[in-house]
Symmetry: C2
Subunit: 120 residues, 2 copies
Amino acid sequence: MMMDQSCPGKVEPILEILDGKWMLILLFELFNGNKRFGELRRKLHPISPKTLTDRLRLLEEKGIVTRTIYPGVPLHVEYDLTESGRGLQPIFEAMWTWTQSYGAYLRNETNEGEEAGKVM
Amino acid sequence: MMMDQSCPGKVEPILEILDGKWMLILLFELFNGNKRFGELRRKLHPISPKTLTDRLRLLEEKGIVTRTIYPGVPLHVEYDLTESGRGLQPIFEAMWTWTQSYGAYLRNETNEGEEAGKVM
DNA sequence: CTGGATCCACTACGATACTG
DNA sequence: CAGTATCGTAGTGGATCCAG
């Protein structure tokens, strides 16, 4: 593992993908299989359609997801991870491991507090 | 490795730490040993003192770094990683691995183009 | 040397309404 | 169903100057 001084600059672009209010949970949903727009919208409720579109388009640009259109009425569009997208999973796992070891009290920031006895 | 539906919410708080324009490179500098304010300021040039202070304070709150003051004139303050902070390294390594495999063309976004042969 | 104080700009994100 | 168009907001990082 080469971790020299130029790493931060090289690694930083990943944050465009992992960053922001919805990206993590969005990617997580996609890890569990391809999904349609409305499906994602329900899972990420109360995300706005504009924001969901923005995030999805960014992921598409970055080669993380594919967008497949099945013509017909009603319209049918599927979002799926590319191989590159699936390759992000080890990063999630590393984050998850860290969270379990050290992240206990960080919860109070983004979660609003009603997660006390939740299932995990 | 348990990765169920509530993981994203649990993992998300890490992004407060990894997130933002300077956090990655800041943490990276700290991985290479404790540093003083001015030292970090030079390494992260052209970061503003306000922003550097903000980032450092956040990391302190989260238990990622310690701030040690050595009284005297001129003032001497050292920033160092806690064990929790050092525990972030596997996440960096996972990101680094991903970058090398899939992230080749992502570079053009955050780097403005004049970084070609830069040492950093 | 190590910041605090102020002011400002940008942009992610949201609400809502509308369309092929 | 799957978005687009518009408008609005709030938080975050930056510039600059000042202070213990």
